[in-house]
């Protein structure tokens, strides 16, 4: 698992970069090299993986899926760094540290995608979360950023406690941290044999995970945190850091708790309904596109929860596709949003006429988030819903979800309407340059490529 080490090292290197390089441009250059190094490391890992192998005292387990997920999510991170490195550096004076924190989060991402021990799960979630608390508050002079950080930290720390309690209870019931061990399979053989201690443990883990992925009713922090966080970090927190938790989520619930699904599936189903309902309906009423995207990330999490609910081969594939499609689409929208002077819908008016490439990319990405065919978002939604239909239970849930997808089209299209059909002077903070345009076009092409040939992503 070179990626874990390389990403942690990249973080350390970035911290020292601030000492040696005084110019922000140089720091950004090192940051880009660092993310490329991490990408190369994940690629090398993928190349090495022949079959499932466990290492580090059986605490880390890597297989084709994990390695491929790491490659994809790192490719998305590379895209994120390339698109946003200037904006990241502009947030405050500690530019090198921001990149360092991002790479520490990546280290957590790799731990979460390849853990096989609940301690690693816990450590992974902590490594993923703590840098995010700092990133949320990195705009120190901004009250909203401080509020975001404090809120996120207090609630996140509390939830971590619940997660730890859940892990402890499961450990108490099984006597093992190893999620693939025989003790787990004996304890979680069938629902009838489930004792109260492990049931409470499972529920606590669900609640904690639900908090981390911003599923309702544990979503309260999300809009304020995503809105208050500097716009350069919001897309990273809402996508890459979030989908990693979904992979950890499905791994635990498929491999360890799969046989006792009667005990927890209804809870997940209720969470799905609430998440889709609250996320979508509230997003409709937002005035600011950034806040709308925060609620939309709640709604999208509702769709990803379907993968957990169904926990079959299709849902693993669906999660892979959803991670990439959702991340790329959000990055595209945020890359345009961050250049806007005014984050409200009015601020986008007339963008298509003044900056057609920005508007077209944002439109394609928004259509992808809405799940229109020929964009990646369609097959992402298709796979997670298909997994649920395959499972055969609660088909009403699927119908409810597609109706909510129609609601989501409402608020995504509102942005498109502002950009394309309304007259206005969309003002930018900074004129776009050629590289930025190239990256936007590349992003849009990738979103469409996944929508035409999802086989590129699936393994």
């Amino acid at each position: 698992m070179n990626a874990i080490i390389v990403s942690a090292l990249a973080g350390v290197v970035m911290m020292f970069t601030g000492l040696f390089f005084k110019k922000s441009g140089q720091v950004q250059g090192v940051a880009i090299l660092a993310v490329l190094a991490i990408l190369a490391a994940t690629g090398y890992d993928y190349f090495l993986v022949s079959q499932t192998n466990r290492s580090y005292f059986d605490m880390i387990e890597s297989d084709h899926y994990t390695a491929w997920f790491n490659v994809l999510i790192t490719a998305c991170t590379t895209m994120y760094v390339l698109l946003f490195h200037k904006d990241i550096a502009k947030v405050g004076r500690n530019d090198a540290e921001y990149f360092a924190l991002i790479y520490f989060v990546m280290s957590g991402v790799y731990l979460l995608s390849s853990y096989s021990n609940m301690l690693i799960l816990f450590i992974g979630i902590e490594i993923l979360s703590i840098p995010q608390y700092i990133l949320a508050g990195s705009d120190k002079e901004n009250v909203k950023s401080n509020e975001a950080s404090l809120k996120y930290f207090l609630m996140g720390a509390f939830t971590t406690g619940i997660l730890l309690m859940g892990i402890t209870l499961v450990y108490g019931a099984t006597g093992s941290f190893d999620i693939l061990s025989d003790r787990f399979s004996v304890q979680f053989q069938n629902t009838a044999g489930l004792n109260a201690m492990s049931f409470v443990g499972i529920m606590m883990i669900i609640f904690a995970m639900g908090f981390k992925v911003s599923a309702a009713p544990f979503h309260m922090w999300t809009p304020d945190v995503y809105d208050g966080t500097p716009t350069a970090f919001t897309p990273f927190m809402a996508t890459i850091a979030k989908v990693a938790i979904f992979v950890a989520f499905i791994k635990l619930f498929h491999f360890s708790f799969g046989n006792v699904n009667d005990a927890w599936q209804m809870t997940i189903a209720a969470m799905i309904v609430l998440t889709l309902l609250i996320g979508n309906i509230t997003a409709v009423y937002q005035q600011s596109v950034k806040r709308m995207m925060a609620y939309s990330s709640i709604a999208q999490a509702g769709f990803m929860l379907f993968a957990i609910y169904a926990f079959n081969a299709t849902s693993w594939n669906g999660l892979l596709l959803y991670s990439v499609a959702y991340t790329l689409a959000s990055l595209g929208v945020f890359a345009v949003l961050i250049r806007m002077k005014d984050y409200t819908y009015e601020g986008f008016q007339g963008l298509a006429r003044k900056h057609p490439i920005m508007a077209a990319t944002a439109a394609i990405c928004l259509l992808s988030l809405a799940g229109i065919p020929l964009t990646g978002g369609f097959f992402a939604k298709y796979y997670v819903l298909s997994a649920t239909v395959e499972q055969g239970k609660m088909l009403g849930l699927v119908v409810f979800a597609v109706l909510m997808a129609a609601v989501s089209a409402y608020y995504y299209l509102k942005v498109i309407m502002s950009m394309y059909f309304k007259e206005g002077e969309a003002e930018l903070t900074e004129e776009p340059n050629g590289i930025y345009h190239f990256l936007l076009i590349l992003n849009a092409i990738l979103v469409i490529a996944i929508g035409v040939l999802p086989g590129l992503i699936l393994r």
Partner: protein, 477 residues
């Protein structure tokens, strides 16, 4: 390969249109549209003559893990008719606006051609997932077109249209997913038919309604029609033509191609109710058309009535009725395109859509009046115009439907036909006869370009009226 080109040429032509210099884009779009028409005509001849060595089906692997294939084909007369209609309408639209170019030409022609590619895909797809993808994709360019060009209320109106149809389509997708679970993990038409047959009645009923709602919104059938008059009124004429001549046919086409064969039991089970909705559409559309003062809304409601009759004929499930529907889908497309072109000429010269402000145009513009009268008469299916044969066959089918209420339905639908004569003739009278007023005094007669277009349309109307065998031969059962 011919079949793929039918989709590929408008697709690539549309993308190219967005990137090329603005002064070339009109001629480019006309060229692409005429090439597509030539290909469609070639497809028609290959189909009728059964040319050896020409394969009208194309298949390529697409998403192997799902069992979805890129599978397109001209397999029956209905798809040929729809492909021909799609191929004919676009060159007509492009030539008819030669002298009145829209703003932002690159976007306009690019999106129009993309819409054509999507529509072709809908009519050619032989794979359920591919069909769904094209069904949605055809909507996107049309959504952008009708939001960018048209009347003052176009943005909210089009938005309603989009959200309505998108919601319907998603429910259809959920139904497709459920049917897919009963196949051997394949999306091909054949496997869907097999899976549908294996379903028990209860499941078929549920899936039937999930799919029917999507198609009914698109057609539109009462009570799902509320988006339609507003959308027709507010969109720019070229877009309205695409909407009314082709896009609403997607709904009818999809019922014949995907709904009835896949869920035959439920289609019979719910026949009475759907016949009732269809006939209500006919009567409601006709009555609403009678009281309209806006000419665009009048035509919009008359279109609801016509589509209602076609839907009734489809669900009566008689061979002769289905044949009539196939013919009428083509002819209605041609006629309504003619009507919209007439309306756009009126609107451009008088700057109003209000019938009360018109009158006396026959005195100042005889050529225009002839075109108006012929196309309007075709719209009420007078004998010797193209509308007659299809309408006759549809009534024949409806009358022979296996429904206890068939006579009542036929009489009610027949009432709709009588009403259609009333409102159409009233419309002609209000536009063309009576005294000229200050507005219509200076009405210029048709230009050469307009004459050419309208004469061509009238020729098609009369030719297919005298010699309907050309269409009937295609859809012989």
């Amino acid at each position: 390969m011919l079949i793929v080109l039918l989709i590929l040429i408008p697709l690539l032509g549309g993308l190219a249109a967005m990137l090329m210099p603005e002064r070339n884009v009109h001629i480019h779009a006309v060229g692409v549209a005429i090439t597509t028409l030539a290909l469609a005509v070639a497809g028609y001849f290959h189909f009728t003559m059964n040319t050896p060595g020409i394969d009208l089906v194309y298949q390529h692997s697409w998403i192997e893990s799902l069992g979805a294939t890129f599978s397109v084909g001209l397999t029956d007369g209905l798809s040929i008719l729809m492909v021909l209609l799609t191929a004919i309408i676009f060159p007509f639209i492009f030539i008819s606006i030669r002298n009145k170019q829209p703003e932002r030409k690159n976007t306009f022609y690019g999106l129009m051609l993309l819409a054509q590619a999507g529509l072709m895909g809908v009519f050619l797809a032989q794979d359920a997932l591919l069909f769904y993808v094209f069904w949605e994709v055809a909507l996107i360019p049309v959504y952008f077109l009708s939001s960018m060009y048209g009347g003052p209320r176009r943005i909210p109106v089009t938005f309603k249209f989009f959200v309505y149809t998108f919601a319907g389509s998603l429910i259809m997708l959920a139904a497709f997913l459920m049917i897919y679970q009963h196949t051997a993990h394949q999306f091909s038409f054949g496997s869907f038919v097999g899976a549908g047959a294996s379903l028990e009645a209860g499941q078929q009923n549920l899936l039937f309604w999930m799919i029917f709602i999507a198609f009914a919104i698109k057609m539109p059938i009462f009570p799902f029609h509320t988006w339609q008059p507003d959308a027709y009124e507010q969109s720019a004429t070229p877009v309205t033509i695409v909407l009314s001549a082709i896009m609403v046919k997607m709904g009818l086409f999809a019922v014949i191609r995907w709904l009835i064969p896949v869920l035959p039991l439920a289609s019979v089970r719910w026949m009475d109710l759907i016949l009732l909705l269809s006939v209500v559409s006919v009567v409601f559309g006709s009555i609403m058309a009678m009281v309209q003062t806006n000419i665009k809304r009048l035509i919009a409601y008359s279109s609801i009535a016509h589509i209602g009759l076609m839907s009734a004929a489809i669900f009566s499930q008689q061979a002769v009725g289905l044949q009539g529907v196939a013919i009428q889908m083509f002819n209605h497309g041609i006629n309504i395109m003619g009507l919209w072109i007439i309306v756009s000429i009126l609107e451009n010269r008088l700057k109003t859509q209000d019938l009360r402000e018109m009158g006396g145009i026959a005195k100042v513009a005889p050529a225009f009046t002839i075109a108006l009268v012929v196309i309007s008469l075709a719209n009420i299916a007078l004998p010797l115009t193209n509308g007659f044969v299809g309408e006759f066959m549809m009534f024949n089918g409806l009358f022979n439907a296996a429904s206890p209420y068939r006579i009542a339905f036929t009489v009610a639908a027949g009432l709709g036909v009588i009403l259609s004569a009333v409102y159409t003739l009233t419309m002609i009278q209000k536009v063309a006869y009576g005294n000229t007023n200050s507005l219509t005094e200076g009405f210029k007669d048709l230009t050469i370009n307009e004459k050419l277009i309208l004469i061509l349309i009238i020729l098609i109307i009369l030719w297919l009226g005298f010699y309907p065998k050309m269409l009937m031969g295609l859809v012989n059962v």
